[in-house]
Subunit: 121 residues, 2 copies
């Protein structure tokens, strides 16, 4: 510790609080798949196969695992329809929709990042 | 494909664009460490050891790897000071600071998520 004055301590405390909050989010959204799955569901309900097509590169096993975790955290709802053959649909819950700000900020940054790289090339 | 009408196709195209942008961001920020490191640097320049203390649970090897990747992507700048002993400091570049919106949204969501869980317990 470089010093013990009030401002430095306060800044250290808010940094820790800030990092804890960011960490809490990443605990739930960890890895790249969950955010992509939520992103796809933003555009409407999807069946398993549709999600697998849209979330590029994900395996069926991984998609199934990720969807289960999203369900446990109440971000995604799974509905089974009694059709023939049985169909299963996934949708964002109201709570899942509260992630909209996170997704928007990632999208906005991703767009400008791609532009920046293109200019450099 | 359920139908081939214009609206559905358009929605599919914007979904793909949206997911690509989110994916681009996650490619750069992948995993939980990079975002936490950037979060810590938001509060001021840090030495390696300081970062390791603040980013809970990261090993020295992993921190070094992550910092190198952040440097390559021009989000973090590393400065060596010719002191005795030599000190190395890390700081966010101007480009790194453009991630502020992403971090803010993750922090905001993390705070309300913790509150939600507390109420449930």
């Amino acid at each position: 510790m470089k010093n013990g004055n009030g401002i430095a301590e306060k800044s250290k405390a808010s940094c820790a609080m800030y990092l804890r909050a960011v960490h809490d989010s990443l605990d739930i959204l960890g890895g790249k798949w969950k955010i992509s799955i939520i992103g796809a569901l933003k555009f409407g309900n999807r069946r398993f196969k549709e999600l697998q097509r849209e979330v590029n590169g994900i395996t069926a096993k991984m998609l199934s695992k990720e969807l289960k975790e999203l369900e446990i955290n109440e971000l995604v709802k799974r509905t089974v329809f009694d059709s023939k053959p049985v169909t299963v649909e996934y949708e964002l819950t109201a709570y899942g929709k509260t992630l909209d700000g996170v997704l928007e900020s990632l999208m906005t940054w991703g767009i400008q990042h791609r532009k920046r790289i293109m200019v450099k090339k």
